[in-house]
Each structure stands twice: as structure tokens, then as C-alpha cells.
Symmetry: C2
Subunit: 380 residues, 2 copies
């Protein structure tokens, strides 16, 4: 894999590095934009200028480290995080489970690249544990609050903005790629029980906002040229402002690994809506782009068995994450996203003492009347 | 009105000022946290430290300006922006219009303080024009793309975070106020036609993300103590993690002015869910708070005629904003939010030339095959 990231060695100052396979080269001697705690300064240079730096960066004879010697951090200072829902297969299979009475695909889906704003402050770097979230779920006549019993993953391809755009000036499908610096895999952890109870009418909120894990290394868009293919046919034809950008599907094989075993294989190229269409849609109302904005593709799922991008799809709503499970998402040529499930934290306000909390199997009962002592919480 | 903001005079360096009525005092001589382009450094001091600075700031004998002499800017560098939907009256009346077949109030509403992530990068300071957004609406058998014909306002009270919280450590209802620096009015501009077509299943996106206007002056929480009252009765009683904070309803009379005429009068105190409950909910899954995070109450609407916080409620879905309309939101003791509607920008990619765009009455037909020339766009 090839890409830029931000790393430190032995508690030193974070700086930008280039990762090539298992080797990381310190680029900080190459200029100010590389002596930074994020890629934002580099990304803000724009497509042409950052493309010119790519060859010197790859050839740079700076200090080199094995990947195991460095501590990588979140590579981007994220502005806004928008998550799309651009896989026809994922949207249909989730629709079938969440809305069993209705049409699995919402009536707007083939017209609108459906997306929503998600929580930028909850994006963390690969390798960070995910703590099982508490939340409201409806299991009986009335809802209860407690650890999610349906903690899931979502395998997504994210892209980050380099060149900003002005408020009031939409980015067209033809110009979209000029604004994108590069791509990175995302695991958009999701609590399905919390989601099912909260999402009508304003969409997913706490079921998503507890954590999204991002790869530590961002692969520049320039390196993806050879993977570009035509996207799946769109029927009906998209409206004029989305007409184009179908040459930006990406042939990138994907894998999901659970506790060392590959449980899914898919490919980014199956996504219905492409990156230029997503970006043209997201800015069609005049919303501005800032350097560091992150866009997720939505879960990438194929149509065959064993190609789902989430457990709810792979197991037909039967199996979810247990404490201690480790998930690794991989994409050919891209950096992995790794995360292990830590038990729910049980912060108990005094008033909780009076009411029972229902704990799922496998979650240790560490509750106490005192929420102050971190030792009282379940930890990894 | 009383509050902190960030201002400049004659193109000088932005700094923090204190506004008292029509007078603004330059606080930059009081210390580094006041010589800043945002309130974030001041807010990050935390509740006690910033409270200690309040008396010296109010008494400071620095340079003074009339409000008309200064240029105020967005006072906060916003992290994440979460918008709630905490008015029972607003939720019910919108539900009646958007889901005429069903129960006007979603079944989860009295259990869950419904909210969603909104777009931080689209928050602008009071006084900024709002450009009518383009977007997809469903008016016939198939959707069309063009300027919103149902551009609306939402009168909200926002609060901003001073003291951050750690990822994985929920804020309790009892501790919530310690994290809040102050409040400011918001106008969460909304395109109802775009919203109706896009919002199932992932919630409002482009119907909201084009712009939210925020007051230029933030009133510290310490100054609201005298306005605290008990919130409306909550039935059924909230779950344990939301049990408390009902002493944080705020008796703040509100007004909406359209082109100089008052068209609505309401009061913040009618909100069903309070700020501590909103914050406890938003962090109950472990999401962290960052200094600068912005939370909106959701539209504040009363139960009587003439108390709606949006035009769709005030006019029973009959009248929306016309180009040139000016809206001013006022709250007793708070800074106003002002904004004028500018005509839709018509960025026309080459491919648009082949397809018609339907323009609403009042929107000038400035379209052209060439989207490059800013002179081709409708502007204020």
C-alpha cells in the first residue's frame, strides 16, 4: 500500500510520512507542509501542486522506519463528515430489514445520492478500540437504556477534500476530482438496535456518532487512475446536475476480517453513485467544501452471498459483535482499518441506582452507584 | 443585550469584544484569550475561569465603539453542529404536514431527545444573506432540480461548548451546564420541498446544509441564571440517564420579524427537552464534546396561533420566503439574527443546456450555458 500519513516515533513531534508497504519515510525535511500534525496543509495546496510533490515524496531519502516502529495518528483534521449510502445492494438489504412492510429501496434512492451529516469529532485513527455504546433500544413495550446488543461494522471508502470551494458555488461532476486529495478506508461502527429506535424522522444519530475509524494512511487520488472503471448503469438516468462522473468507479477489491478470518469479499466498483456525483450532490445547494472535509461512500456491499459490508447483511440480522472481537478492513493498495470491541462503559449517575439496566450477555456487570472512578468502568 | 463576540474595525485584526446594548468594548488588552479570532480560547478556560473573567470584562475600560462601527464575525470556530427537535409543538405540527397519514408525533419522540448532526461549515454570522438553494424536489411523477420554492426559517436557541469531554465518558444531566459556555440565537434556514423528498430514510441533508445563521454575540450561561424556570412536565417520565435538568428551561421571550413586521411571538421556556437532557443524550453513547461544538434546540414553537417558529407552521404550509425578504430573530437579552434572501445561484454545467430548469415565480432567469462567469449568477 502507498499513502501519506502523520506519525511520530518514541513520543517525538508528529510529522508527515510516506508509507510504502511496511516502510515509512519521514518527509519533514521536504518542506513546511510535511512538518505538520495533519495532512491539511499538504492537501490545501490543491490537486496540481500536491501531484507535483508526489514523485519527490516517494523518492525522498529521509529517515525510514518499519511500520511497527511508528505511532500513526488521525491523518486529517476533519471539517465536516458526510456519510453517503451509495450501494444499491446495501440500501436494499438494510431497507428490507428496517422496513419489512415497505419497498426495500426508498422511492428517492435512484434519484438522490442519499447521505447525511455525521460526527466529525468521533472519527478516530485505525487501531483505536471501539467501546460498545450505551443507548436507547426498544425491546419491549417501553424502551430501555443500556449497552447496544447489535453492534455492527460498515465497510466504506472515504475521500478527503484538498481544494476548498466557496459557499454558494456548487462543484460540478466534471470538477469534483479537482477537490479531492485522496481516499482511505473507513469503518463506520453502527449500533443497529439504537438506530432502529431513533432514526425516524431525522435519521441516524447516536447509533453512528460514537465512533468512526479511519485508516491512518491516505492514498492520493493520482495513484488511483489505473483503477478507474465505469460505474454500474444508472436507471433512470440521473438529473442533469448528476449527469457525469461515471468514469470514477474504482476497481478496488475489499475484505473484512473478523478475528483473523475473512468473512466478506467485495469491490468498491459496485457502488451505484460515484465520488463526483456525491460531491456534486453535496454542494448542489451551495454548501462549501473545506480542506479536510471527509466523505464516506456508505457501506460497500455486493449482490452475492458473502459480499455484504456489514454483519447485519452477512448474518441476516443474526450475529453482531461480541466484546473482544477484532475487525480488520482491507482494500487492495490501501491502508487497513483495525479495531477491537471494548466492553460498554457504565457511567452511572446517582439516579441510576434506582432503576435496572439490562446488560447483554458477554458484557460484564461493572455498574456502581459511583460514576467518578474510571476503575469502575469496563475497559479493554 | 449582553454578550461576547469577535469584531474588527476598519479592516483591523479581529479580537474579542463585549457587547452591552449598542456599545462594543475592545477586550484585547485583558489577555491573550481576548486577542483571538474566535471565542474558543476563552470558552476553553471552563466554566469557573470564564465566570471569573466576566466581571473584569464587563467593567473593562477599553476602546469603545458603537455597534454600527464594527464588523462582527462568526464568534465561534465550530466543531460539530448538532440540531435537536425539542419542541413538542413544532414536532407535532411538522409531523402532521410531512406524514399526514400517520401519528403526528413519532412514537419515540417522548423518549428520545430527537436530534441529528448538521453541517458545521455552513454556519455563518448574522447579517449574511441566504442564497436560495437549488435542489431536487418532487412536484410531479419525477423529481426536478431547481431553486427551492419552499424556503423557510427555523427560530432556535443554540448553545456552545466550553469545557470539552473525553471520548467514552458521557456527560450527565447534572454536569451538563459545566460544559456550556453560553447561548446564541440561530436561524436554521430550511428548504421544505427538498426536505420532503430527501429525508427518508437518513434524515434532512441538503434541505438544511446550505446555511445556518448564528447571532454574532454569545451570552454567557452565567447571565441566564435569573431566567431559569422549570420545564414543562414530561410524561412518560424520562429514562434514568435523562432524569434531571428540568430546572434549565429558560424564560426568554422570542420574536420573528419579517420585513419589519412581527409575525410570531413565543418563548424558549416551552421546549420539552432541556439543554442538560440534550447534552446527556448526545454524549450517552460516548461521543466526546469539543470546545466550540454547537447545539441547536430545534425550532421553538408555542401551542397558540402566532407562536410558530417557522413559516410552514405560521402559514399552514401556504407561504414561504420570497427573494429579498428579510428575517430578524430576536430574544430578550440576546443578540439578533438577521438575514436577507438572495436569489438562487444558477451554476449551469454544460450538460444543463439540454434540459429545462423550472424557476419559481420571483426568481430571475439568469441561466446561461456558461457557469464560469460570476456575473451570470443571480446575486444580492
Amino acid at each position: 500500500m502507498l499513502g501519506y500519513g502523520v506519525f511520530s516515533v518514541g513520543g517525538g513531534t508528529p510529522r508527515v510520512g510516506w508509507r510504502d508497504g511496511d516502510e515509512v519515510t519521514d518527509l519533514s525535511a521536504l518542506g513546511d507542509v510535511f512538518m505538520q500534525p495533519s495532512l491539511n496543509a499538504l492537501m490545501a495546496l490543491g490537486r496540481d501542486a500536491s501531484a507535483e510533490l508526489l514523485a519527490p515524496a516517494r523518492a525522498h531519502d529521509g529517515p525510514r522506519f518499519h511500520i511497527d516502529e511508528v505511532t500513526a495518528q488521525l491523518p486529517v483534521q476533519i471539517g465536516d463528515f458526510v456519510d453517503f449510502n451509495s450501494s444499491l445492494e446495501h440500501a436494499s438489504s438494510i431497507g428490507r430489514m428496517f422496513r419489512p412492510q415497505g419497498d426495500p429501496l426508498p422511492v428517492n434512492w435512484r434519484w438522490v445520492p442519499i447521505g447525511y451529516q455525521s460526527r466529525a469529532g468521533s472519527v478516530v485513527v485505525s487501531g483505536t478500540d471501539v467501546r460498545r455504546p450505551n443507548g436507547q433500544r426498544k425491546t419491549g413495550d417501553t424502551p430501555t437504556f443500556g449497552p447496544s446488543e447489535r453492534l455492527d461494522i460498515e465497510l466504506e471508502l472515504g475521500f478527503v477534500i484538498g481544494t476548498p470551494s466557496a459557499h454558494g458555488e456548487p462543484v460540478t461532476v466534471d470538477d469534483a476530482a479537482d477537490h479531492v486529495f485522496g481516499v482511505a478506508l473507513l469503518n463506520d461502527w453502527s449500533a443497529r438496535d439504537i438506530q432502529a429506535w431513533e432514526y425516524v424522522p431525522l435519521g441516524p444519530f447516536l447509533s453512528k456518532s460514537f465512533q468512526t475509524s479511519m485508516a491512518a494512511w491516505v492514498t492520493p487520488l493520482a495513484l488511483l487512475e489505473e483503477h478507474r472503471v465505469e460505474s454500474p448503469l444508472q436507471e433512470p438516468p440521473p438529473l442533469a446536475y448528476l449527469d457525469g462522473g461515471r468514469d470514477w468507479a474504482l476497481d478496488i477489491p475489499l475484505e473484512i476480517e473478523l478475528n483473523g478470518e475473512v468473512i466478506s469479499r467485495s469491490n468498491v466498483r459496485t457502488l451505484y453513485w460515484t465520488m463526483p456525483q456525491q460531491l456534486a450532490h453535496a454542494t448542489s445547494n451551495g454548501a462549501a467544501l473545506r480542506t479536510g472535509d471527509l466523505f464516506g461512500s456508505g457501506t460497500v456491499s455486493g449482490s452475492e452471498p458473502g459480499t455484504g459490508g456489514s454483519l447485519i447483511e452477512l448474518t441476516q440480522n443474526e450475529r453482531f459483535l461480541a466484546d473482544g472481537d477484532e475487525i480488520v478492513l482491507r482494500g487492495r493498495g490501501l491502508a487497513e482499518v483495525r479495531g477491537r470491541v471494548a466492553p460498554a462503559g457504565l457511567i452511572i449517575p446517582a439516579s441510576y441506582g434506582e432503576r435496572p439496566i439490562v446488560l447483554p450477555a458477554g458484557v460484564q456487570a461493572l455498574r456502581s452507584g459511583n460514576g467518578e472512578d474510571p476503575g469502575q468502568r469496563g475497559g479493554p
